[in-house]
Symmetry: C2
Subunit: 115 residues, 2 copies
């Protein structure tokens, strides 16, 4: 349903007592970001996805667009730029895991890559 479309939402301020996404929310939201993996580093879940590029500068241009979106959302990913590939990881530092914001930001990252 359009009401649930992640790219139409914006990240909310995340406080230290904000809730982690529940397993049911992950099941509901994950189909909107099918390419993303849920990985765990030091017991903290992250959403991670790799994006392919023909050149380093095309990758850099994507990094800049994702960073601009991150500033708008006031939510900042880890981005790895290398030749031919950019990897983006979203998680919520304050709550040491995944918040709904991370799914919104991941969906917006996909939208930037598609555009």
């Amino acid at each position: 349903m359009n009401d649930d479309k992640l790219t139409l939402k914006t990240c909310e301020a995340c406080t230290i007592d904000a809730p982690l996404v529940t397993d049911q929310e992950i099941i509901d939201l994950k189909p909107q970001i099918p390419a993303w993996e849920i990985i765990e580093i030091e017991n903290i879940k992250r959403l991670k996805c790799g994006f392919a590029f023909k050149s380093y500068l095309e990758g850099l241009s994507f990094v800049s667009k994702v960073a601009a979106m991150a500033e708008m959302e006031d939510h900042h990913p880890e981005i790895i730029l290398e030749w031919g590939k950019v990897s983006v990881s979203w998680w919520s530092h304050k709550i040491k895991g995944l918040h709904k914001n991370d799914f919104i930001a991941a969906a917006k990252t996909d939208e930037i890559y598609s555009s």
Copy 2:
């Protein structure tokens, strides 16, 4: 000696049979890039250094400048952008380790950060 100043040199084309830096060359060159660590991932030595920034966008600006230098040198690092920090790693994929190019590029990265 100025003749040996890394920031005055440019990267040369690196072929698959180019020599890895010798231990003596590492001893000679490393003092010019004191903040950089030599790390090893999957048996491949890399030069890695973290740079601090007050904001994500200041970090992004540094990423763009390092990427522009990388294009000029036709040698491309892995760059990790996160809130407050940018990490840069240089190594030579073709020879699976460190070439003199990596020391030149690391010194130029420091120069960009200082400027």
